[in-house]
Amino acid sequence: MALNEYVITLLSEIGIYAIAALGLNVTWGYAGQVNLGQAAFIGIGAMTSAILTLHYGAPFWLALLLSWIISMVIGLLLGLVSIRLRYDFLAISTIGFNFIVVGVFQYHDIFGGTVGITGIPRPIIFGFKLSGLSYTILVYLMFGLASILVWWIRRSWIGKAFEAINEDEIAAQSLGINVKKYKVLAFAVGTGLAGLSGSLLAHFKTSILYEDFAFSKSIEIISMSALGGMDSILGALVGSAIVKLLPEIIRPLMEIRLAFYSILIMLVLIFMPEGILGRRSVLSRQLNSMVINIIRHACKSKIEGIKLIGKDPT
């Protein structure tokens, strides 16, 4: 099977950005905390990983792990600082953070300055250099792990607390939920995943530049997340695939990518606010009722019971 390099590159990028979009889904989709600076955390992860492997000879796995942790810690700090802000103000402060991070990357030589960092090594596992398809497999493995993490968050009490905060902060507080703690946690989980995606990106592209993590990249991630459905795991991947593939298929879109992302976000907000695979999206509801119908046909004797279970959206 000859998967050519072009396809492999595209597949890898889709997977890498899907992880960042998944992170945004946790922060924004689950917990309702706006983060318009997700690209900054991809950058923090990428730079951490690049510097660790290049300058300190750290093995890939360690660099990956530390990128995740460092982005998470910085996300945690940003969360702590911006905890008092809501909606628009939070949005603006995260945009500001994005610009600050890019500025720091641009003006400090350790981050490669205006020429960027080049020659980032490809990961070597058991003496086997990961490139091409094997790297793509690694990327999707990481997406799988990230999905498990997010899925586990959703089925634990954290997920319920996130949902409650997203719906109504004051009511959530009055039910004993420590809103501050969960907001910070939501930030940390989301930015941690962005860092992970950044690390994978650095070792994939082998050269990174401050521009790669500009605010426009954040918009791209948001459009992926919104299109796929902000409260969906698989939606992050679907959104990432569509946003990455459309400009490849329709070439002229490449020239006006930023406009394309913005228009995409607006269209999604107007016509499909739940995204493609969001839990309350049209498609999900259709699929749901299809499954319920199949079960109902399968065991007609217990229709009452099935109806109750089927209607339970939890």
């Binding site: 009490w157 319920k160 109504d168 009055s174």
Partner: protein, 251 residues
């Protein structure tokens, strides 16, 4: 003498020169149903917001179970056993009735690191279901809260508050906006809760209803307590009639 559960000492809330709550001293005894009445803008809801920590007092103390709770976070106060409903209902709109109550059942797990536990836990599910049944919401178990009429939302809020196993329940105008029939149902529920020994602060507009339910009543006006005592005494109080109907009626 019964034991004091909650006490405020010179509680004051200043909104830029306007004292919404002004040197208020109230006491709630264990097992008591305390009514708080007063005209619009008397400071009733502000008082509840102060007790539940949503607002920080400018001055004064709130003592619950012999601990000072002013300055504590709303979530910590809720976990100590003060639950409330809201005058303007605040359900988790997109979640079902069941999930709304379930979230409240998990309050213990929001502490420390036990939040990593699975939420689909039999104990909580049973508890949520029994509360929903108790409040007569079982037909709407899996309906998103946004699709419920107001009367049911008020009951949902009571169910949610009860899920916290409260020692003190604050009901903020639970009958406002409801039909007569719905108010009757709420009245019945409140009586039931009182029988179970839950201390309740019942904040209301509706004077006859409050008088009927309460053991004692405080009357607030312009942020101050203007009368206090047994319902039948309070509603005959000259100052109270003045506050509600104007001076000419009091004479």
């Amino acid at each position: 003498m019964e034991k004091i559960l909650l006490k405020t000492v010179n509680l004051t809330k200043d909104f830029g020169g306007i004292k919404a709550v002004d040197e208020v001293n109230i006491e709630v005894y264990k097992g008591e149903l305390l009514g708080i009445i007063g005209p619009n803008g008397a400071g009733k809801t502000t008082l509840l917001n102060l007790i539940t920590g949503i607002l920080k007092p400018t001055k004064g103390k709130i003592i619950f179970n012999e601990r000072e709770i002013q300055g504590m976070s709303p979530s910590a106060i809720a976990r100590m056993g003060i639950a409330r409903t809201f005058q303007i209902v605040r359900p988790f709109k997109r979640l079902s009735v069941f999930e709304n109550v379930l979230i409240a059942c998990g309050y213990r797990d929001y502490q420390g690191f036990s939040f990593i536990k699975k939420w689909k836990n039999d104990i909580y599910i049973k508890k949520a279901e029994s509360l929903i049944r108790k409040l007569g919401l079982e037909d709407y178990m899996y309906t998103p809260a946004e699709n419920l009429p107001l009367g049911y939302l008020k009951r949902l809020e009571i169910a949610r508050a009860l899920a916290l196993d409260p020692k003190l329940l604050l009901l903020d105008e639970v009958t406002s906006g409801l039909s007569k029939g719905e108010s009757e149902e709420i009245k019945y529920i409140v009586k039931e809760l009182k029988k179970q020994g839950i201390s309740i602060i019942f904040v209301e507009h509706n004077v006859p209803l409050t008088a009927e339910l309460s053991d004692r009543i405080y009357v607030l006006n312009f942020g101050r307590v203007i009368a206090e005592g047994r319902p039948e005494e309070v509603i005959r109080d000259k100052k109270v009639i003045e506050a509600y109907l104007g001076e000419e009626y009091a004479a």
